[in-house]
């Protein structure tokens, strides 16, 4: 990107003041709030849930070894539940994005495209 360069600082130059205006808009602040309000707690939750699985595998062997049905034990069910929660979180995020994030992002993008036309 030749045009973006600012040789004195060896850094991409600022593009357009419109970004500052967008950053100050209530829509953007709301978008940012909604995005972070979902991804931060959910990330902490699934990492903790995964770590709990790792720790239990190591230090709660007798609990993990209990049979649930036939040869299927708690450890296997716990492992499979990690699959279930991964699928559920992915689905929930896709729903949340489509209903709560995309409309705001599209609105802001529209403003940007109008201004820079």
């Amino acid at each position: 990107m030749v045009s973006d360069k600012d040789p004195s600082t060896d850094r991409a130059a600022r593009h357009d003041p419109i970004y500052d205006a967008m950053a100050e808009s209530p829509e953007f602040k709301e978008l940012r709030h909604r995005y972070r309000a979902f991804v931060f707690p959910v990330t902490v939750a699934f990492l903790a849930w995964f770590l709990l699985y790792v720790v239990m595998s190591n230090w709660a062997e007798s609990f993990m070894a209990q049979k649930v049905v036939g040869n299927i034990n708690v450890a296997l069910v716990f492992g499979l539940l990690q699959f279930v929660t991964t699928f559920l979180i992915a689905y929930a995020y896709s729903r949340y994005s489509a209903t709560r994030l995309d409309p705001l992002a599209d609105q802001l993008l529209h403003v940007y495209e109008e201004e820079t036309r």
Binding site: A23, R32, T43, S57, N71, A75, F87
Partner: protein, 539 residues
Amino acid sequence: MDHQWITTALFLAVVALTIFVTVRASRSTSGTSDFYAGGRSFSPIQNGLAIGGDYMSAASFLGISGTIALSGYDGFLYSIGFLVAWLVALLLVAEMLRNSGRFTMADQLAFRMKQRPVRMAAATSTVVVSIFYLLAQMVGAGLLVALLLGVDSQAVKNIVILGVGFLMIFYVTVGGMKGTTWVQIVKAVLLMTGSALIVVLVLAQFNFNLSELLGAAADNSGKGQAFLEPGLKYGATLTSKLDFVSLGIALVLGTAGLPHILIRFYTVPTAKDARKSVLWAIGLIGVFYLFTLVLGFGAAAMLDTATLDTSGNLAAPRLAEEVGGGVDSTGGAILLALISAVAFATILAVVAGLTLTSSASVAHDIYNNVIRKGEATEKEEIRVTRYAAAAIGLVAILLAIPAQSLNIAFLVALAFAVAASANLPTILFNMFWRRFNTRGALWSIYGGLISSVTLVIFSPVMSGKGIDPVTGKNRSLLPTDIDISWFPLENPGLVSIPLGFLLGIIGTLSKREPAAEDRYTELEVRALTGAGAEKAVSH
């Protein structure tokens, strides 16, 4: 029927198919956006398949099923970690990266940092991670072909490594990102259908009853119920338990820092498509890792595990032979050949992605932006990418030949540890922390990179494990009379990942860089809304 003919024919068919899609893709490739990002015009389903094709490596297919076949339940950690890791990529990385970068991992850093040092650092870590990963795939290819030809000849393995090396250089230099993507899509379809077939055949032997399969695996393993419980491989001592934690953390945090995965997010038109392609990939990869559970326990139940090699890497192809009717049966020969060809396709697709990623980073980050200060034309940059692909291919060939005694899953786990230590902290800080700056990025990348690699050099993997009492083989890489080990864990993640994050924080707080903070506003607006993001190429 002579099974070697079927095998050879299927291998050649796989190679011919990949060459065909590469050449076809090369016809619609012109500028850098085509060459590095496939014109950003793949659909979410296509990219989802390609992500799966890029991600499900020989370590997943051969390594995980082999580890479960030998060590039972503990091998399942790999499957779970490799899958859960995708949530980090989905929630925190994919869309923001698509909106703020162009071709490489370094682009989103260069957006607000001092370009040349951060590009140099990010390119270095891209090449290191990719080469570790490449070695694993090439070693796997050598093993696989030697098994199929029924020879344990070093010369044959070396020839295969050479062949794979030349093929990957071909895919990248001729087909660029479009060719690479199509190779990955073809592979994902082959891998999913091939492994689904074996899974159904295995389950049919046990009346589609998972409990019955597990029972048979426990009995046949000779370890009883312990085979189905955690702890067989990692439960012996506190050190091995910590190794398990270390591996788990590296797996779950590594994925979103793997450069060859990150650049796949650039191949779709918008951030929404990047999100959708990750959703497809999660579905595909999740189902595949459930398959590995059946393949691993199936191999434990049906094969004489004493006859498997010590790394277990060949459990899946041997299982295919068994469910097809056993050794010397036509059905067995056909399924063995089929699954081995699928595994070979798997390896080819992954090495193509890795070679493209690392050579693109050398050309785009180091050559164009560091050496030529951004003045190189697109043509020059692509030409340098081709040279770089050839050079990286040759380096990988030269390193893979002596690395053949290493376990595939281990090498990949190491690549994950380096990616999680050196790449992930910078990516997350850059996106979410206004104060983050050039010094923080450099400390984090180089600190994570150097600490993870150094800890491996002084770990039991390199030296000090001594002779295996059962097989009589040396369990470390260096000869037994050399012992330089002082770090007790095999996976460095537990130490190097927190260190990568910590160095990023300390580096940042020790110096203010107002320009980087100032440009964060633009980065954040662009990352969240897509304003000013790179557009798809229309032909």
